[in-house]
Structures are given as structure tokens and as C-alpha cells.
């Protein structure tokens, strides 16, 4: 009896310790990301008071730094984690919010539906476009975009528009420093339920069957072309705190460097540059 009681108490104590450990860990992750992002934001705002600082200069410095790197990926893959999934705390809040909306009035108006859609997607297309523009500024010729739910592929036109805007905005800032003015090839992977397994079964190297847009220089009307690019990603960046490839084409990432970046809402150019530094340092031995 006493032994059972002792075991019961021991289990309770261990369970409480386990819970506290995980809650503390998640909280410190959130706080660390929050502080890092906001400190950078505040310092940028302060710097913008000075006449010599500008976002364009930041971009030019970024391009300068990248040009000094010994190697840059030829094919960059970006896997986007929905904001709703990156933090356990936000997932719990999201669940509560969804259960609330189910309990409340079901006859919502269109505005509420749009809001719901945005919250369910949890992806800021403008930020994704920024990341693609940075990759383009870094002279990365091929960029693959992926998300497990296939949202990016279904919203590729909207995303294409944002990418176009970002590249035009950055064009004159990077034109002088970049040797190659060719626009990037952007590839979209995946539709929901058609994950890497099914692609493998279909025997496709999925690269051959994906729509690709080539953005032409903004001299005249932009044209979209379907083109093919048969390379495997050199670097896979996962935007979010989910430590998994989440089904990204398993056949194609055998030699790909995998790194994680902060989530969409907190990613900065310096984070992206940091990953390029890490990639430049890595050594491929190919088993030898």
C-alpha cells in the first residue's frame, strides 16, 4: 500500500517536472525569438533616423557580403511552416480560437470567412516573396518553394505577383553589384496529399512535372514561362521551428544541407545571410 502510494507520488512529481520542463523550454524559445526580433526592429528604427542608413544600403551590403563567400547554393529550397504550427503555445491558442468559432454563430459574413482563411493558412505571402527576393539578390538561380499543405502551389499567382514586386523594388539596388542580371527560376512543389511518397511511387522526379515561372527583367511586360530545371537542392531552408523536412521530396535531398530559420513573422535578412555563411563553410566529402 505504502509502496503503491510512493510510486503514485513519484509519478506525479516526475510528470509535473516533465510538464514544467517543456513549458519552460517553449516559453524561452518564444521569448528569445520575440526579443531578438524586436530588438533588431527597434535598432533599425533608431538607425533610420540617421541619413546614411537605408534599407537599400542594407541590401547592397548583403549582396557585397554574399559576393565574398567561397560558395553559394545553385538551387535553394524553401519549406514554409504555417505560423499556426510553429509554436506549441500558438497551436493551443489556435485550437481554442477554432473551437470558439465553431460554438459561435455559423452564419459568418465574407469578411469573417476571409479572416478565417488567413488564420487557417497562416502564411504571409509577402514575407515569402521577400525571402525569394533575397535569394535572387544573392545570385541563387533556382528557388524551390514547398509547404506540406500545398497552399503555396494553389496561390502561386498571388505569390508570383508579390515576388515580382519585391524583385523590381530591389532591382536597382543590386544591379550594380550583381554580375548576373538573370532573374531566378522559381519552382512550386506539392499539392496536399501528394507528398514525397506519392511522387516516388509515380516514378517522377517531381522536378519535371512542376510548374515553374521565369521572371523576365522589368523592361517591358513581364512574361511567365513554364520551364524545367533539373537540379537537386544544395540547401534546404525550413522557415519555422519545426525540426523536420515535413515530407519534402526525399529522393532529391540526399546531399542537401538542411538548416532552420526563424518563422515567417520573425525572419530577417541577417538570418538568411547567416545560413549562407554556414553553407559556405560546409564540406561535401561524398563518402570519401
Amino acid at each position: 500500500m505504502i509502496r503503491k502510494a510512493r510510486e503514485w507520488l513519484q509519478n506525479k512529481v516526475f510528470y509535473t517536472a516533465w510538464l514544467l520542463l517543456h513549458i519552460t523550454y517553449q516559453l524561452q524559445l518564444e521569448i528569445r525569438d520575440f526579443l531578438r526580433f524586436n530588438l533588431r526592429y527597434v535598432s533599425k528604427r533608431l538607425l533610420s533616423c540617421f541619413p546614411l542608413y537605408s534599407q537599400q544600403k542594407e541590401l547592397v551590403d548583403f549582396v557585397d557580403e554574399v559576393s565574398k563567400l567561397p560558395k553559394v547554393p545553385k538551387h535553394l529550397a524553401i519549406s514554409v511552416v504555417p505560423e499556426s504550427q510553429e509554436s506549441v503555445l500558438s497551436m493551443l491558442l489556435n485550437k481554442l480560437w477554432q473551437s470558439q468559432t465553431q460554438l459561435s454563430n455559423t452564419n459568418s459574413n465574407k469578411k469573417d470567412d476571409d479572416l478565417k482563411e488567413i488564420k487557417c493558412d497562416g502564411m504571409n505571402l509577402q514575407t515569402i516573396a521577400k525571402v525569394v527576393a533575397w535569394a535572387s539578390a544573392a545570385n541563387i538561380p533556382v528557388i524551390s518553394l514547398y509547404d506540406y499543405n500545398g497552399i503555396l502551389k494553389t496561390r502561386y499567382k498571388e505569390l508570383g505577383g508579390y515576388i515580382q514586386e519585391e524583385i523590381i523594388q530591389d532591382f536597382w539596388a543590386v544591379k550594380k553589384t550583381r554580375a548576373n542580371n538573370d532573374p531566378p527560376i522559381v519552382k512550386f512543389h506539392n499539392v496536399h496529399k501528394t507528398n514525397g511518397y506519392t511522387n516516388g511511387i509515380n516514378g517522377t522526379k517531381a522536378l519535371d512535372t512542376v510548374h515553374i515561372f521565369v521572371f523576365r527583367e522589368m523592361m517591358g511586360n513581364p512574361t511567365f514561362h513554364i520551364a524545367e530545371a533539373k537540379t537537386e537542392p544544395d540547401l534546404l531552408l525550413i522557415l519555422g521551428n519545426v525540426k523536420s523536412t515535413l515530407g519534402f521530396l526525399p529522393w532529391h535531398i540526399r546531399l542537401t544541407e538542411i538548416h532552420w530559420l526563424p518563422s515567417l513573422k520573425r525572419i530577417e535578412m541577417c538570418d538568411f545571410l547567416g545560413t549562407l555563411y554556414k553553407y559556405a563553410k560546409c564540406q561535401q566529402r561524398f563518402g570519401k
Binding site: F14, V88, G203, P250
Partner: protein
Amino acid sequence: MMAASETLLEKLFRKILQQGSIPNHVALILDGNRRYARENNMQTIEGHRKGKNTFKKLVNWNAICGVKEVTVFAFSIQNFNRSTQEVNDLMALFRSTIHEILGNKEIMTNGRVQFIGNWPLFPKDLKPLISKLMVDTRNNTKITVNIAFAYAGRDEITSGVKNLLHGVANKALTLSNVNEDLLDKSLQLYSMSPVDLLIRTGECRLSDFLAWGSSDHAVICFRDEYWPSFTYWGLLECVFYYQANKFRIQQDFQEEEKNYQQSWKFLSMLKKGLWKTVENHDERQRNFGVQ
């Protein structure tokens, strides 16, 4: 399994972690032996020996934590491109390790050992030893240890696909039978459960390891230290990491599972209803004397 020596703090942390879910299948890429040897002014083979010692402890650590399956990337097909001297030294090391395992009563009675990889590429003198180990441990169930030897992920998928193609060519299968599940089960002697946690020391890439098995929902943990320096604490940290990330990853798969179960529930109710209609119709026919 052999009782590994745990310090009090390690035991406490392990007991706390065991309140949450422990990964069922842990995969490890044992990388960094040569770099470890270089940094510690040792010969390359010494680095590999240190790596072997860490591997022996690893299986015990996993058994203590409650992991049911462990897969290690011991030697890839591309490793055959190393210098002849190094390859010969490594083969000699594998030979001695297999002899040690064969002589270890505890492993031989509790652990199931499976070698995964391209069997024709295995050295001829190692094949009898590997066969003996696999046959003698085939019925053990406590823990499964898969050793990836002469292995590459693409090679594994290709050979699985070839097996299915032969089946279709020999009319043992039709094309409609071919699906993910069948391919998954055709890859190895014993089907491996999906990888829950993949650990790699030294680098940040998968190097063609378990491309199929780790694709969907494995938590990936890249460690900075080299394999010989990997410790029990490192494993416990990775398990903690797995628990912290599992919830996020599993969310999507739980949604899929829920939808799948919902569809099946609907279908079985629909079919029940349809059968009832058919049976009712049949009863009415009998009541009116129509057969």
C-alpha cells in the same frame, strides 16, 4: 540488455522524459570518426574504434530509454571509394564487432539484428557472419537493431521498386496492387517502422540515409559533436527535443488520420445501409412468395 551505468542525474532526467512519449524508432548517422581522430592526434582507425565503442553503448542507452528500434548508418556504398587501406581496416573492425556481438549472450537473446543494404556488395568473408547473426536473432523482439551496411537511400528505393516490377512482370502482382504501403514493405526483410527521431553528428545533411523512412514525420536532430564524443546526455537531449517537436509535426498527420478514419466510418455506415436495403428487399420478395 546490459545494464549501462547511469549516474543519478541521468537516471532522474530519463525518468522525467519517460513521462512523455519515447520515440519508437531512432535512426543515427555515425559521422565524424575521422575528424575526431584528427583533432585528437590519433590514427584514423583509432577514431573508428572509438566510434565502435560509442555504438556499443548506444544500443544499451536506447534499450534503457524504451526505444524499440534503432537504425545506424555504419557504411555507405560511397564509402567504398575511400582508400583501400581504410576500407580494409574498417572491414576488419566490422568483423571483430560482429564476433563480439555473436559472443554477447544478452544481445543474442534480446536483440534482433538486421543488416540493411545492398547484399551483393557485402564482402564475401563477412556474409557468413552477418547471416549467422541475422538468423540467430530473427525471433528476438525486445529491441531491433538495423545496421545499414553498403547502403544508400536511393539504392534502397530502387531495389524496392525493382522487386515490385519483377512481381508485376511475373504476374504475381498487378499494377493496381502497387502503392506506398507495398513499396514500404518490400524494402527490407523486416519492415521498419517509420523513423521518429533521426540524429546526426557532425554535419547538417541526411547523406542519402533512410530517404524513404524518415521523410514524413521524423524529428531531425543535428548535433555539433562528432560521433565518438556522443554521450548518453546527448541522446536524452535528443529525446527531449523529439518530445518538444513531435506535437507540431504530428498535428498534420493526426488531421490526416482523423480524416481517414472519418471516411472509413462513413463508408462502413453507407454500406451497412445499402446492405440493409438489399436484405429488406429480399425479405419482401420472400413474404410475397417470389424467389
